[in-house]
Symmetry: C2
Subunit: 229 residues, 2 copies
Amino acid sequence: MRDLLQFNTRPFMDMLTPAIADRVRAEATISSFSNGQLIQSRGDTRAGLSIIKSGAGQMGVFGEDGTFVMMSVLGPGQTFGEVTLFTDIPRTQDFVAIGPTEIYQLSAARFRALCEDESGLLETLLSITLARSHFLLDILDSIRRLPLRERVAKTLYSMELTAGQHGHVQCRQEDLADMIGVSRVSLSKALKDLTALGLIKLGYGSISFPDIEKFRDWVGRHCNVAIVS
Amino acid sequence: MRDLLQFNTRPFMDMLTPAIADRVRAEATISSFSNGQLIQSRGDTRAGLSIIKSGAGQMGVFGEDGTFVMMSVLGPGQTFGEVTLFTDIPRTQDFVAIGPTEIYQLSAARFRALCEDESGLLETLLSITLARSHFLLDILDSIRRLPLRERVAKTLYSMELTAGQHGHVQCRQEDLADMIGVSRVSLSKALKDLTALGLIKLGYGSISFPDIEKFRDWVGRHCNVAIVS
DNA sequence: GAACAAATGTTAAGTATTGTACATTTGTAA
DNA sequence: TTACAAATGTACAATACTTAACATTTGTTC
């Protein structure tokens, strides 16, 4: 699961200058959570910025029947709850700790005060939000346009780009299916197809790329990949 | 089609103070486009903010076969291309004029200069982007969690809230299907179901709500509606 | 290495959605 | 009013996806 981390946007804290990051850390309070604990719930109106200090968590929404639809996995330095800073929209998703996790909580008032001093803060938050928005649009487009096989390939491509070490990705098929939002059976079929094309090789808890160049090329030609900077 | 306008987020220009809005208008150049003309294309790296002065356009992506997948319709005061201001991501979507359309183009340099003077500008842009991001997340969640019938109802609910006059919505079924991303046949079936439930009434190019309170109530109970401010 | 748990592979029936095609209704312009 | 175009209604076969169940493989622990 850890390999799903940060496959979408760069961590907020890494984008700040060390000086600003230190000030953020200094101003924030720290809360600790244990594995599976609910860190925020949907509808929460507490205004403030939350930043992961250590550990990880999954964003998503609990249905009435308790099923959890995961949207993404966040790791150290990544933020959530920004929406409460500048809109009166409440927090829109549930956030559940994966393993022991510590969170910096920066109240809206303190964040605003910091912004006065450090103009880079707003700009950083804006660029993260824009990137996230771009990422979401891309996912939506993929859902509408691409067959499942291509969508799976594209997801693997993202994961390989950001989290992959040496042409393979560590990830259970079940988690991957959750992430893409399909059943494990459908995912399995798509993976089998990609295997038949010689693009990937399935392992136990991992997927490897026998010929990473060939894979990238195929994804580039079939999956409408947004140009990556 | 016009009724699809602005059903997602508030126009940028309406959120600025009149003084700032005037400065934005003064600094921008204006381009004109005719119906169907391509205003921006995917991959465009020209950094700057585009704001609709008059007319409208649809955001979306052209496939290789020329099919257009629409993501949203933007109207006067709404912006696009923000992503080029603070990230090095190119413009991610195509934008096509609906009817004669004028666009304010504000270069990245001028935008940044304006930001120095008018701190509210960044904050406004951030809140719009956050709201958009929230909106996209909500759509993704609906796609994964809700049956089509409920998703259609939820979309109609949004449209009625923002664009509806007196309990009805002006919109061709084909456009609605495009917007939700399903075939017209599936949409038709969902609409028929909602009609059978007494929630809507179908017309020629329009959908009306015989008992708007009943409709809102049903949507609230079945469609996981995010709390609206 | 034996026992167990975790992860993957596979099958089959059921449901939802699509594409295509054509019929019907509604609006519009001559 | 009549033609015509635009929009909606509907039927049918084909496809994609899901759920459920069970078999197999892989890793882990004693």
